[in-house]
Symmetry: C2
Subunit: 296 residues, 2 copies
Protein backbone atom coordinates (compact mmCIF):
# COMPACT_ATOMS: atom_id res chain seq x y z
CA UNK A 1 0.00 0.00 0.00
CA UNK A 2 1.16 3.51 -0.67
CA UNK A 3 1.86 5.80 2.25
CA UNK A 4 -1.53 7.40 1.68
CA UNK A 5 -4.31 5.73 3.63
CA UNK A 6 -6.92 6.46 0.99
CA UNK A 7 -7.99 5.01 -2.34
CA UNK A 8 -10.87 5.69 -4.68
CA UNK A 9 -13.13 2.74 -5.40
CA UNK A 10 -15.44 2.75 -8.44
CA UNK A 11 -18.32 0.39 -9.13
CA UNK A 12 -19.42 0.04 -12.76
CA UNK A 13 -23.16 -0.66 -12.90
CA UNK A 14 -24.12 -1.74 -16.42
CA UNK A 15 -26.69 -3.72 -18.37
CA UNK A 16 -25.51 -6.91 -20.06
CA UNK A 17 -26.58 -7.85 -23.59
CA UNK A 18 -26.40 -11.14 -25.49
CA UNK A 19 -23.22 -9.95 -27.24
CA UNK A 20 -20.47 -11.23 -24.94
CA UNK A 21 -17.67 -9.55 -26.91
CA UNK A 22 -19.68 -6.35 -26.92
CA UNK A 23 -20.14 -6.61 -23.15
CA UNK A 24 -16.41 -7.07 -22.69
CA UNK A 25 -15.70 -4.08 -24.92
CA UNK A 26 -18.20 -2.06 -22.91
CA UNK A 27 -16.54 -3.16 -19.66
CA UNK A 28 -13.18 -2.03 -21.05
CA UNK A 29 -14.61 1.35 -22.01
CA UNK A 30 -16.39 1.92 -18.70
CA UNK A 31 -13.45 0.83 -16.55
CA UNK A 32 -11.26 3.20 -18.60
CA UNK A 33 -13.76 5.95 -17.96
CA UNK A 34 -13.78 5.20 -14.20
CA UNK A 35 -9.99 5.35 -14.21
CA UNK A 36 -10.19 8.70 -15.97
CA UNK A 37 -12.43 9.91 -13.15
CA UNK A 38 -9.74 9.06 -10.63
CA UNK A 39 -10.58 5.52 -9.55
CA UNK A 40 -7.81 3.37 -8.09
CA UNK A 41 -9.80 0.14 -7.84
CA UNK A 42 -12.70 -0.69 -10.18
CA UNK A 43 -15.17 -3.55 -9.83
CA UNK A 44 -17.58 -4.86 -12.48
CA UNK A 45 -20.85 -6.77 -11.84
CA UNK A 46 -21.09 -10.55 -11.62
CA UNK A 47 -20.95 -12.36 -15.00
CA UNK A 48 -21.09 -9.02 -16.87
CA UNK A 49 -20.18 -10.68 -20.19
CA UNK A 50 -23.59 -12.35 -20.42
CA UNK A 51 -27.26 -12.02 -19.74
CA UNK A 52 -27.83 -13.81 -16.43
CA UNK A 53 -27.99 -17.25 -18.06
CA UNK A 54 -28.76 -19.05 -14.78
CA UNK A 55 -32.47 -18.29 -15.23
CA UNK A 56 -32.63 -21.67 -17.00
CA UNK A 57 -30.51 -24.82 -17.19
CA UNK A 58 -28.91 -25.26 -20.61
CA UNK A 59 -25.77 -27.33 -21.11
CA UNK A 60 -24.86 -25.44 -24.30
CA UNK A 61 -24.16 -22.40 -22.11
CA UNK A 62 -20.93 -24.02 -20.99
CA UNK A 63 -19.60 -22.94 -24.40
CA UNK A 64 -19.47 -19.42 -22.96
CA UNK A 65 -17.00 -20.27 -20.24
CA UNK A 66 -13.36 -19.24 -20.54
CA UNK A 67 -10.09 -20.01 -18.85
CA UNK A 68 -8.19 -17.80 -16.42
CA UNK A 69 -6.01 -16.37 -17.88
CA UNK A 70 -8.15 -15.88 -20.98
CA UNK A 71 -9.80 -13.25 -23.11
CA UNK A 72 -11.35 -11.28 -20.23
CA UNK A 73 -8.19 -11.09 -18.15
CA UNK A 74 -6.21 -10.15 -21.27
CA UNK A 75 -8.48 -7.31 -22.37
CA UNK A 76 -9.14 -5.90 -18.91
CA UNK A 77 -5.55 -6.52 -17.83
CA UNK A 78 -4.52 -4.20 -20.65
CA UNK A 79 -6.94 -1.56 -19.38
CA UNK A 80 -5.60 -1.94 -15.84
CA UNK A 81 -2.03 -1.55 -17.09
CA UNK A 82 -2.81 1.38 -19.38
CA UNK A 83 -4.41 3.36 -16.56
CA UNK A 84 -2.39 2.01 -13.65
CA UNK A 85 -5.49 0.79 -11.80
CA UNK A 86 -6.76 -2.42 -10.23
CA UNK A 87 -9.77 -4.12 -11.87
CA UNK A 88 -11.93 -6.85 -10.34
CA UNK A 89 -13.45 -8.88 -13.17
CA UNK A 90 -16.10 -11.56 -12.74
CA UNK A 91 -15.48 -14.54 -15.02
CA UNK A 92 -17.44 -17.67 -15.94
CA UNK A 93 -14.42 -19.92 -15.51
CA UNK A 94 -13.80 -23.13 -17.41
CA UNK A 95 -11.35 -25.04 -15.25
CA UNK A 96 -11.65 -28.42 -16.96
CA UNK A 97 -14.17 -30.39 -18.96
CA UNK A 98 -17.27 -30.63 -16.77
CA UNK A 99 -15.78 -28.30 -14.13
CA UNK A 100 -16.82 -24.65 -14.11
CA UNK A 101 -16.69 -21.90 -11.51
CA UNK A 102 -18.16 -18.47 -10.90
CA UNK A 103 -14.88 -16.63 -10.37
CA UNK A 104 -13.41 -13.22 -9.72
CA UNK A 105 -10.01 -12.22 -11.05
CA UNK A 106 -8.11 -9.32 -9.54
CA UNK A 107 -5.99 -7.58 -12.19
CA UNK A 108 -3.27 -5.35 -10.85
CA UNK A 109 -1.79 -2.14 -12.25
CA UNK A 110 0.72 -4.16 -14.28
CA UNK A 111 -2.10 -6.07 -15.91
CA UNK A 112 -1.20 -9.24 -14.05
CA UNK A 113 -3.58 -11.55 -12.23
CA UNK A 114 -3.00 -10.79 -8.55
CA UNK A 115 -5.64 -13.18 -7.27
CA UNK A 116 -8.46 -15.53 -8.20
CA UNK A 117 -11.49 -16.12 -5.99
CA UNK A 118 -14.04 -18.83 -6.75
CA UNK A 119 -17.55 -18.21 -5.40
CA UNK A 120 -17.89 -20.30 -2.27
CA UNK A 121 -21.66 -20.16 -1.66
CA UNK A 122 -23.71 -21.24 -4.66
CA UNK A 123 -27.46 -20.49 -4.72
CA UNK A 124 -30.21 -22.41 -6.38
CA UNK A 125 -33.64 -20.82 -6.43
CA UNK A 126 -36.24 -20.44 -9.15
CA UNK A 127 -34.57 -18.31 -11.83
CA UNK A 128 -31.15 -18.59 -10.15
CA UNK A 129 -30.08 -22.13 -11.16
CA UNK A 130 -26.45 -21.68 -10.22
CA UNK A 131 -25.85 -25.13 -8.78
CA UNK A 132 -26.29 -26.49 -12.31
CA UNK A 133 -23.48 -24.34 -13.66
CA UNK A 134 -20.97 -23.65 -10.91
CA UNK A 135 -18.90 -25.98 -8.79
CA UNK A 136 -18.50 -24.44 -5.31
CA UNK A 137 -15.16 -22.70 -4.87
CA UNK A 138 -12.18 -24.53 -3.41
CA UNK A 139 -9.81 -21.64 -2.86
CA UNK A 140 -11.31 -20.44 0.42
CA UNK A 141 -11.91 -16.86 1.51
CA UNK A 142 -9.35 -14.34 0.42
CA UNK A 143 -8.02 -10.83 0.67
CA UNK A 144 -5.84 -10.10 -2.34
CA UNK A 145 -2.61 -8.26 -1.54
CA UNK A 146 -2.34 -5.24 -3.84
CA UNK A 147 -0.68 -1.87 -4.06
CA UNK A 148 -3.92 -0.53 -2.58
CA UNK A 149 -3.85 -2.88 0.38
CA UNK A 150 -5.80 -6.07 0.86
CA UNK A 151 -9.00 -6.32 -1.13
CA UNK A 152 -11.66 -8.82 -0.07
CA UNK A 153 -13.11 -10.75 -3.01
CA UNK A 154 -16.55 -12.29 -2.65
CA UNK A 155 -19.46 -12.86 -5.04
CA UNK A 156 -23.22 -12.33 -4.78
CA UNK A 157 -24.79 -15.16 -2.68
CA UNK A 158 -21.75 -14.90 -0.37
CA UNK A 159 -23.21 -11.58 0.75
CA UNK A 160 -25.86 -13.32 2.86
CA UNK A 161 -23.20 -15.19 4.88
CA UNK A 162 -21.63 -13.50 7.91
CA UNK A 163 -18.98 -16.24 7.89
CA UNK A 164 -17.75 -15.17 4.44
CA UNK A 165 -17.50 -11.54 5.52
CA UNK A 166 -15.77 -12.37 8.80
CA UNK A 167 -13.23 -14.79 7.33
CA UNK A 168 -12.35 -12.29 4.61
CA UNK A 169 -12.03 -9.54 7.20
CA UNK A 170 -9.73 -11.75 9.27
CA UNK A 171 -7.47 -11.98 6.21
CA UNK A 172 -6.97 -8.22 6.51
CA UNK A 173 -9.36 -6.88 3.87
CA UNK A 174 -10.19 -3.18 4.02
CA UNK A 175 -13.06 -3.56 1.54
CA UNK A 176 -15.37 -6.47 0.79
CA UNK A 177 -16.22 -6.47 -2.92
CA UNK A 178 -19.43 -8.23 -3.99
CA UNK A 179 -20.02 -8.40 -7.75
CA UNK A 180 -23.68 -9.33 -7.88
CA UNK A 181 -26.59 -10.29 -10.14
CA UNK A 182 -29.77 -9.86 -8.13
CA UNK A 183 -33.20 -8.61 -9.01
CA UNK A 184 -36.91 -8.90 -8.59
CA UNK A 185 -39.15 -11.58 -9.96
CA UNK A 186 -41.65 -9.15 -11.56
CA UNK A 187 -44.61 -11.13 -10.22
CA UNK A 188 -43.31 -10.80 -6.64
CA UNK A 189 -42.11 -7.23 -6.77
CA UNK A 190 -45.24 -5.46 -5.53
CA UNK A 191 -45.66 -7.67 -2.49
CA UNK A 192 -42.10 -8.50 -1.52
CA UNK A 193 -39.84 -6.24 -3.55
CA UNK A 194 -39.15 -3.52 -1.02
CA UNK A 195 -38.41 -5.95 1.82
CA UNK A 196 -36.14 -8.09 -0.38
CA UNK A 197 -34.16 -5.09 -1.58
CA UNK A 198 -33.80 -3.65 1.90
CA UNK A 199 -32.78 -7.02 3.39
CA UNK A 200 -30.04 -7.24 0.76
CA UNK A 201 -28.69 -3.83 1.68
CA UNK A 202 -29.11 -4.38 5.41
CA UNK A 203 -27.25 -7.66 5.68
CA UNK A 204 -24.27 -6.21 3.82
CA UNK A 205 -24.30 -2.99 5.85
CA UNK A 206 -24.33 -5.31 8.86
CA UNK A 207 -21.12 -6.95 7.62
CA UNK A 208 -19.55 -3.48 7.36
CA UNK A 209 -20.53 -2.74 10.98
CA UNK A 210 -19.59 -6.12 12.46
CA UNK A 211 -16.17 -6.06 10.78
CA UNK A 212 -15.60 -2.28 10.76
CA UNK A 213 -14.60 -2.18 7.11
CA UNK A 214 -15.99 -0.98 3.79
CA UNK A 215 -18.45 -2.96 1.68
CA UNK A 216 -18.79 -2.42 -2.09
CA UNK A 217 -21.58 -4.26 -3.93
CA UNK A 218 -22.02 -3.86 -7.68
CA UNK A 219 -25.09 -5.13 -9.51
CA UNK A 220 -26.33 -5.04 -13.10
CA UNK A 221 -29.49 -3.28 -14.34
CA UNK A 222 -32.18 -4.20 -16.83
CA UNK A 223 -35.09 -6.57 -17.33
CA UNK A 224 -33.75 -9.83 -18.78
CA UNK A 225 -36.20 -12.34 -20.26
CA UNK A 226 -35.23 -15.79 -21.44
CA UNK A 227 -38.13 -15.75 -23.90
CA UNK A 228 -40.79 -13.21 -24.87
CA UNK A 229 -43.26 -15.03 -22.60
CA UNK A 230 -41.01 -15.43 -19.56
CA UNK A 231 -41.49 -13.01 -16.67
CA UNK A 232 -37.73 -12.58 -16.51
CA UNK A 233 -35.75 -10.89 -13.75
CA UNK A 234 -35.65 -7.14 -13.19
CA UNK A 235 -32.11 -6.55 -11.93
CA UNK A 236 -32.29 -3.86 -9.28
CA UNK A 237 -29.00 -2.04 -9.72
CA UNK A 238 -28.57 -0.09 -6.45
CA UNK A 239 -24.85 -0.72 -6.35
CA UNK A 240 -23.50 0.85 -3.17
CA UNK A 241 -20.51 1.46 -0.97
CA UNK A 242 -20.92 1.42 2.82
CA UNK A 243 -18.43 2.74 5.34
CA UNK A 244 -17.15 0.94 8.48
CA UNK A 245 -20.25 1.97 10.41
CA UNK A 246 -22.57 0.76 7.67
CA UNK A 247 -23.39 4.25 6.38
CA UNK A 248 -23.98 4.27 2.62
CA UNK A 249 -21.52 6.73 1.13
CA UNK A 250 -22.27 6.09 -2.57
CA UNK A 251 -25.33 4.52 -4.18
CA UNK A 252 -26.51 3.99 -7.74
CA UNK A 253 -30.01 4.10 -9.20
CA UNK A 254 -32.12 0.98 -9.62
CA UNK A 255 -32.29 1.20 -13.41
CA UNK A 256 -29.51 3.26 -14.98
CA UNK A 257 -26.01 2.38 -16.16
CA UNK A 258 -23.61 4.48 -14.15
CA UNK A 259 -20.34 4.64 -12.26
CA UNK A 260 -20.37 5.34 -8.55
CA UNK A 261 -17.27 6.17 -6.61
CA UNK A 262 -16.20 6.69 -3.00
CA UNK A 263 -13.02 7.26 -1.07
CA UNK A 264 -11.89 4.41 1.15
CA UNK A 265 -9.75 5.47 4.09
CA UNK A 266 -7.97 2.78 6.07
CA UNK A 267 -7.38 5.35 8.83
CA UNK A 268 -11.17 5.37 9.25
CA UNK A 269 -11.08 1.60 9.73
CA UNK A 270 -8.37 1.95 12.35
CA UNK A 271 -10.32 4.65 14.16
CA UNK A 272 -13.58 2.68 14.09
CA UNK A 273 -11.90 -0.46 15.41
CA UNK A 274 -10.23 1.44 18.23
CA UNK A 275 -13.54 2.84 19.38
CA UNK A 276 -15.65 -0.29 18.78
CA UNK A 277 -13.09 -3.03 19.37
CA UNK A 278 -15.12 -6.03 18.28
CA UNK A 279 -12.06 -8.02 17.20
CA UNK A 280 -10.57 -7.77 20.69
CA UNK A 281 -13.47 -9.62 22.29
CA UNK A 282 -14.29 -12.46 19.87
CA UNK A 283 -14.83 -15.72 21.80
CA UNK A 284 -12.65 -17.90 19.61
CA UNK A 285 -12.78 -20.55 22.32
CA UNK A 286 -16.54 -20.87 21.83
CA UNK A 287 -17.08 -20.75 18.04
CA UNK A 288 -16.37 -24.35 17.15
CA UNK A 289 -20.04 -25.00 16.35
CA UNK A 290 -19.74 -22.72 13.31
CA UNK A 291 -18.49 -25.67 11.29
CA UNK A 292 -21.60 -27.72 12.06
CA UNK A 293 -24.63 -28.00 9.80
CA UNK A 294 -27.08 -27.61 12.68
CA UNK A 295 -26.59 -27.32 16.42
CA UNK A 296 -28.77 -30.09 17.75
CA UNK B 1 -44.65 -25.43 21.64
CA UNK B 2 -48.40 -25.25 21.30
CA UNK B 3 -49.98 -26.18 17.98
CA UNK B 4 -50.25 -22.48 17.21
CA UNK B 5 -47.22 -21.11 15.39
CA UNK B 6 -47.52 -17.68 16.94
CA UNK B 7 -46.62 -15.99 20.21
CA UNK B 8 -46.69 -12.43 21.42
CA UNK B 9 -43.37 -11.00 22.54
CA UNK B 10 -43.22 -7.90 24.76
CA UNK B 11 -40.20 -5.75 25.52
CA UNK B 12 -40.33 -3.64 28.66
CA UNK B 13 -38.34 -0.43 28.18
CA UNK B 14 -37.85 1.31 31.52
CA UNK B 15 -35.56 3.71 33.36
CA UNK B 16 -33.55 2.30 36.25
CA UNK B 17 -33.15 4.18 39.54
CA UNK B 18 -30.71 3.71 42.42
CA UNK B 19 -33.38 1.79 44.35
CA UNK B 20 -32.72 -1.81 43.36
CA UNK B 21 -35.74 -3.18 45.22
CA UNK B 22 -37.87 -0.46 43.68
CA UNK B 23 -36.56 -1.39 40.22
CA UNK B 24 -37.44 -5.02 40.84
CA UNK B 25 -40.92 -4.05 42.01
CA UNK B 26 -41.32 -1.91 38.91
CA UNK B 27 -40.17 -4.81 36.73
CA UNK B 28 -42.78 -7.04 38.39
CA UNK B 29 -45.51 -4.47 37.78
CA UNK B 30 -44.55 -3.82 34.17
CA UNK B 31 -44.18 -7.48 33.27
CA UNK B 32 -47.59 -8.08 34.84
CA UNK B 33 -48.99 -5.27 32.74
CA UNK B 34 -47.42 -6.73 29.59
CA UNK B 35 -48.98 -10.10 30.45
CA UNK B 36 -52.31 -8.36 30.85
CA UNK B 37 -51.89 -6.96 27.36
CA UNK B 38 -51.54 -10.47 25.98
CA UNK B 39 -47.80 -11.09 25.99
CA UNK B 40 -46.56 -14.69 26.04
CA UNK B 41 -42.87 -13.89 26.43
CA UNK B 42 -41.59 -10.74 28.16
CA UNK B 43 -38.02 -9.46 28.23
CA UNK B 44 -36.57 -6.78 30.51
CA UNK B 45 -33.48 -4.61 29.82
CA UNK B 46 -29.96 -5.54 30.84
CA UNK B 47 -29.20 -5.06 34.56
CA UNK B 48 -32.55 -3.35 35.10
CA UNK B 49 -32.20 -3.50 38.91
CA UNK B 50 -29.46 -0.87 38.88
CA UNK B 51 -28.24 2.29 37.29
CA UNK B 52 -25.63 1.18 34.74
CA UNK B 53 -22.88 0.89 37.36
CA UNK B 54 -20.22 -0.03 34.79
CA UNK B 55 -19.60 3.65 34.08
CA UNK B 56 -16.95 3.42 36.78
CA UNK B 57 -14.95 0.69 38.52
CA UNK B 58 -15.96 0.27 42.16
CA UNK B 59 -15.41 -2.96 44.05
CA UNK B 60 -18.19 -2.18 46.52
CA UNK B 61 -20.68 -2.66 43.67
CA UNK B 62 -20.17 -6.40 43.94
CA UNK B 63 -22.43 -6.16 47.02
CA UNK B 64 -25.30 -5.72 44.55
CA UNK B 65 -24.82 -9.11 42.91
CA UNK B 66 -27.18 -11.96 43.72
CA UNK B 67 -27.31 -15.69 43.20
CA UNK B 68 -29.43 -17.58 40.70
CA UNK B 69 -31.88 -18.64 42.04
CA UNK B 70 -32.26 -15.54 44.17
CA UNK B 71 -34.49 -12.58 44.85
CA UNK B 72 -34.99 -11.60 41.21
CA UNK B 73 -35.86 -15.08 39.99
CA UNK B 74 -38.19 -15.53 42.99
CA UNK B 75 -40.14 -12.31 42.49
CA UNK B 76 -40.32 -12.49 38.70
CA UNK B 77 -40.86 -16.25 38.75
CA UNK B 78 -43.99 -15.56 40.81
CA UNK B 79 -45.15 -13.04 38.19
CA UNK B 80 -44.47 -15.57 35.42
CA UNK B 81 -46.45 -18.23 37.25
CA UNK B 82 -49.33 -15.92 38.16
CA UNK B 83 -49.83 -14.88 34.55
CA UNK B 84 -48.68 -18.05 32.83
CA UNK B 85 -46.01 -16.25 30.84
CA UNK B 86 -42.28 -16.55 30.18
CA UNK B 87 -40.02 -13.79 31.55
CA UNK B 88 -36.40 -13.14 30.57
CA UNK B 89 -34.67 -11.41 33.46
CA UNK B 90 -31.18 -9.93 33.36
CA UNK B 91 -29.28 -10.57 36.59
CA UNK B 92 -25.96 -9.40 38.05
CA UNK B 93 -24.98 -12.90 39.12
CA UNK B 94 -22.80 -13.74 42.08
CA UNK B 95 -21.48 -17.21 41.33
CA UNK B 96 -18.75 -17.34 43.98
CA UNK B 97 -16.51 -14.99 45.87
CA UNK B 98 -14.62 -13.00 43.21
CA UNK B 99 -16.64 -14.54 40.38
CA UNK B 100 -19.51 -12.56 38.89
CA UNK B 101 -21.41 -12.78 35.61
CA UNK B 102 -23.78 -10.69 33.53
CA UNK B 103 -26.53 -13.28 33.20
CA UNK B 104 -29.98 -13.84 31.80
CA UNK B 105 -32.48 -16.16 33.49
CA UNK B 106 -35.43 -17.54 31.56
CA UNK B 107 -38.41 -18.05 33.90
CA UNK B 108 -41.11 -20.30 32.57
CA UNK B 109 -44.88 -20.25 33.11
CA UNK B 110 -44.49 -22.39 36.22
CA UNK B 111 -42.09 -19.85 37.69
CA UNK B 112 -39.16 -22.20 37.27
CA UNK B 113 -35.76 -21.33 35.84
CA UNK B 114 -35.80 -22.88 32.39
CA UNK B 115 -32.36 -21.63 31.39
CA UNK B 116 -29.41 -19.46 32.37
CA UNK B 117 -27.22 -17.66 29.85
CA UNK B 118 -24.02 -15.88 30.85
CA UNK B 119 -22.94 -13.02 28.59
CA UNK B 120 -20.18 -14.35 26.36
CA UNK B 121 -18.76 -11.14 24.86
CA UNK B 122 -17.73 -8.59 27.48
CA UNK B 123 -17.01 -5.00 26.40
CA UNK B 124 -14.65 -2.52 27.92
CA UNK B 125 -14.82 1.01 26.62
CA UNK B 126 -14.83 4.37 28.37
CA UNK B 127 -18.00 4.37 30.47
CA UNK B 128 -18.62 0.66 29.85
CA UNK B 129 -16.08 -0.96 32.21
CA UNK B 130 -17.64 -4.41 32.06
CA UNK B 131 -14.42 -6.40 32.07
CA UNK B 132 -13.89 -5.20 35.63
CA UNK B 133 -17.19 -6.66 36.79
CA UNK B 134 -18.09 -9.64 34.64
CA UNK B 135 -16.27 -12.88 33.98
CA UNK B 136 -16.97 -13.97 30.38
CA UNK B 137 -19.69 -16.62 30.17
CA UNK B 138 -18.80 -20.29 30.17
CA UNK B 139 -22.16 -21.78 29.24
CA UNK B 140 -21.88 -21.22 25.50
CA UNK B 141 -24.61 -20.02 23.16
CA UNK B 142 -28.10 -21.24 23.90
CA UNK B 143 -31.69 -21.50 22.80
CA UNK B 144 -33.87 -22.24 25.81
CA UNK B 145 -36.54 -24.86 25.21
CA UNK B 146 -39.89 -23.48 26.36
CA UNK B 147 -43.60 -23.93 25.80
CA UNK B 148 -43.24 -21.14 23.23
CA UNK B 149 -40.45 -22.88 21.35
CA UNK B 150 -36.76 -22.20 21.53
CA UNK B 151 -35.79 -18.73 22.68
CA UNK B 152 -32.31 -17.42 21.93
CA UNK B 153 -30.73 -15.67 24.91
CA UNK B 154 -27.96 -13.15 24.31
CA UNK B 155 -26.93 -9.90 25.99
CA UNK B 156 -25.94 -6.45 24.68
CA UNK B 157 -22.31 -6.57 23.38
CA UNK B 158 -23.13 -10.00 21.89
CA UNK B 159 -25.29 -8.10 19.40
CA UNK B 160 -22.24 -6.96 17.44
CA UNK B 161 -21.08 -10.56 16.87
CA UNK B 162 -22.48 -12.52 13.90
CA UNK B 163 -21.02 -15.67 15.48
CA UNK B 164 -23.26 -15.29 18.54
CA UNK B 165 -26.35 -14.85 16.39
CA UNK B 166 -25.48 -17.75 14.11
CA UNK B 167 -24.60 -20.22 16.85
CA UNK B 168 -27.83 -19.37 18.69
CA UNK B 169 -29.80 -19.75 15.46
CA UNK B 170 -28.18 -23.14 14.87
CA UNK B 171 -29.55 -24.19 18.27
CA UNK B 172 -33.03 -23.68 16.85
CA UNK B 173 -33.97 -20.25 18.22
CA UNK B 174 -36.95 -18.50 16.65
CA UNK B 175 -36.11 -15.19 18.36
CA UNK B 176 -32.81 -13.70 19.50
CA UNK B 177 -33.38 -11.68 22.67
CA UNK B 178 -30.84 -8.95 23.47
CA UNK B 179 -31.35 -7.20 26.82
CA UNK B 180 -29.19 -4.13 26.41
CA UNK B 181 -27.77 -1.05 28.08
CA UNK B 182 -26.47 1.25 25.38
CA UNK B 183 -26.53 4.98 24.94
CA UNK B 184 -24.78 8.07 23.80
CA UNK B 185 -21.87 9.79 25.43
CA UNK B 186 -23.48 13.28 25.47
CA UNK B 187 -20.28 14.92 24.23
CA UNK B 188 -20.20 12.63 21.14
CA UNK B 189 -23.89 12.64 20.34
CA UNK B 190 -24.02 15.51 17.87
CA UNK B 191 -21.16 14.24 15.74
CA UNK B 192 -21.52 10.46 15.99
CA UNK B 193 -24.87 9.77 17.61
CA UNK B 194 -26.96 9.08 14.54
CA UNK B 195 -24.39 6.75 12.95
CA UNK B 196 -23.85 4.85 16.21
CA UNK B 197 -27.55 4.35 16.75
CA UNK B 198 -28.17 3.25 13.17
CA UNK B 199 -25.19 0.87 13.20
CA UNK B 200 -26.64 -0.76 16.33
CA UNK B 201 -29.97 -1.31 14.63
CA UNK B 202 -28.43 -2.35 11.32
CA UNK B 203 -26.13 -5.05 12.64
CA UNK B 204 -28.99 -6.67 14.55
CA UNK B 205 -31.39 -6.41 11.61
CA UNK B 206 -28.60 -8.07 9.62
CA UNK B 207 -28.62 -11.00 12.07
CA UNK B 208 -32.37 -11.33 11.50
CA UNK B 209 -31.81 -11.47 7.73
CA UNK B 210 -28.79 -13.78 7.74
CA UNK B 211 -30.52 -16.25 10.06
CA UNK B 212 -34.12 -15.68 8.94
CA UNK B 213 -35.45 -15.31 12.47
CA UNK B 214 -36.80 -12.59 14.74
CA UNK B 215 -34.59 -10.25 16.76
CA UNK B 216 -35.83 -8.50 19.93
CA UNK B 217 -33.57 -5.91 21.58
CA UNK B 218 -34.65 -4.13 24.75
CA UNK B 219 -32.80 -1.13 26.14
CA UNK B 220 -33.26 1.23 29.08
CA UNK B 221 -33.96 4.97 28.88
CA UNK B 222 -32.71 7.98 30.82
CA UNK B 223 -29.60 10.06 31.40
CA UNK B 224 -27.53 8.42 34.13
CA UNK B 225 -24.72 10.39 35.76
CA UNK B 226 -22.26 8.93 38.23
CA UNK B 227 -21.80 12.37 39.79
CA UNK B 228 -23.31 15.80 39.20
CA UNK B 229 -20.23 16.74 37.16
CA UNK B 230 -20.00 13.59 35.05
CA UNK B 231 -21.29 13.75 31.47
CA UNK B 232 -23.06 10.43 32.06
CA UNK B 233 -24.65 8.21 29.45
CA UNK B 234 -27.91 9.01 27.69
CA UNK B 235 -29.46 5.58 27.18
CA UNK B 236 -31.19 5.62 23.82
CA UNK B 237 -34.16 3.33 24.35
CA UNK B 238 -35.28 2.41 20.83
CA UNK B 239 -36.09 -1.15 21.83
CA UNK B 240 -37.26 -2.98 18.72
CA UNK B 241 -38.40 -6.23 17.21
CA UNK B 242 -37.31 -7.15 13.66
CA UNK B 243 -38.86 -9.86 11.50
CA UNK B 244 -36.96 -12.59 9.56
CA UNK B 245 -36.25 -10.17 6.71
CA UNK B 246 -34.96 -7.50 9.07
CA UNK B 247 -38.09 -5.35 8.88
CA UNK B 248 -38.77 -3.53 12.16
CA UNK B 249 -42.26 -4.52 13.28
CA UNK B 250 -42.27 -2.78 16.67
CA UNK B 251 -40.10 0.05 17.96
CA UNK B 252 -40.02 2.16 21.09
CA UNK B 253 -39.16 5.82 21.57
CA UNK B 254 -35.66 6.96 22.52
CA UNK B 255 -36.69 8.45 25.84
CA UNK B 256 -39.96 7.08 27.24
CA UNK B 257 -40.75 4.10 29.43
CA UNK B 258 -43.06 1.86 27.46
CA UNK B 259 -43.98 -1.66 26.46
CA UNK B 260 -43.72 -2.68 22.82
CA UNK B 261 -45.19 -5.89 21.50
CA UNK B 262 -45.20 -7.92 18.30
CA UNK B 263 -46.44 -11.26 17.11
CA UNK B 264 -43.77 -13.84 16.30
CA UNK B 265 -44.84 -16.45 13.77
CA UNK B 266 -42.62 -19.47 13.30
CA UNK B 267 -44.50 -20.20 10.07
CA UNK B 268 -43.00 -16.96 8.77
CA UNK B 269 -39.52 -18.27 9.63
CA UNK B 270 -40.26 -21.49 7.78
CA UNK B 271 -41.50 -19.59 4.73
CA UNK B 272 -38.54 -17.20 4.71
CA UNK B 273 -36.04 -20.04 4.97
CA UNK B 274 -37.72 -21.96 2.14
CA UNK B 275 -37.44 -18.98 -0.16
CA UNK B 276 -34.01 -17.79 0.95
CA UNK B 277 -32.36 -21.07 1.94
CA UNK B 278 -29.16 -19.73 3.47
CA UNK B 279 -28.77 -22.66 5.85
CA UNK B 280 -28.73 -25.12 2.94
CA UNK B 281 -25.62 -23.59 1.44
CA UNK B 282 -23.34 -22.86 4.39
CA UNK B 283 -19.76 -23.95 3.59
CA UNK B 284 -19.14 -25.78 6.85
CA UNK B 285 -16.07 -27.35 5.25
CA UNK B 286 -14.49 -23.90 4.93
CA UNK B 287 -15.29 -22.09 8.19
CA UNK B 288 -12.53 -23.46 10.38
CA UNK B 289 -10.77 -20.08 10.48
CA UNK B 290 -13.64 -18.68 12.55
CA UNK B 291 -11.94 -19.94 15.68
CA UNK B 292 -8.76 -18.01 14.95
CA UNK B 293 -7.92 -14.60 16.38
CA UNK B 294 -6.66 -13.28 13.04
CA UNK B 295 -6.22 -14.90 9.65
CA UNK B 296 -2.62 -14.15 8.85
Amino acid sequence: MSTSTTMRVALVQIACSKDSDGNLQKAAEWTGRAAGQGADVICLPELFRFPYFCQTEDASVFDLAETIPGQTTEILGAVAKKHGVIILASIFERRASGLYHNSLATLDESGNIAGIYRKMHIPDDPGYCEKFYFTPGDLGFQAVDTRMGKLGTLICWDQWYPEAARLTALKGASVLFYPTAIGWHPEEKDEHGAAQHDAWKTVQRGHAVANALYVAAVNRVGLEKTSPDSPGIEFWGSSFIADPQGVIIAEASIDREEIIMAEIDTARIEDTRRNWPFFRDRRIDAYTGMDQRWGQ
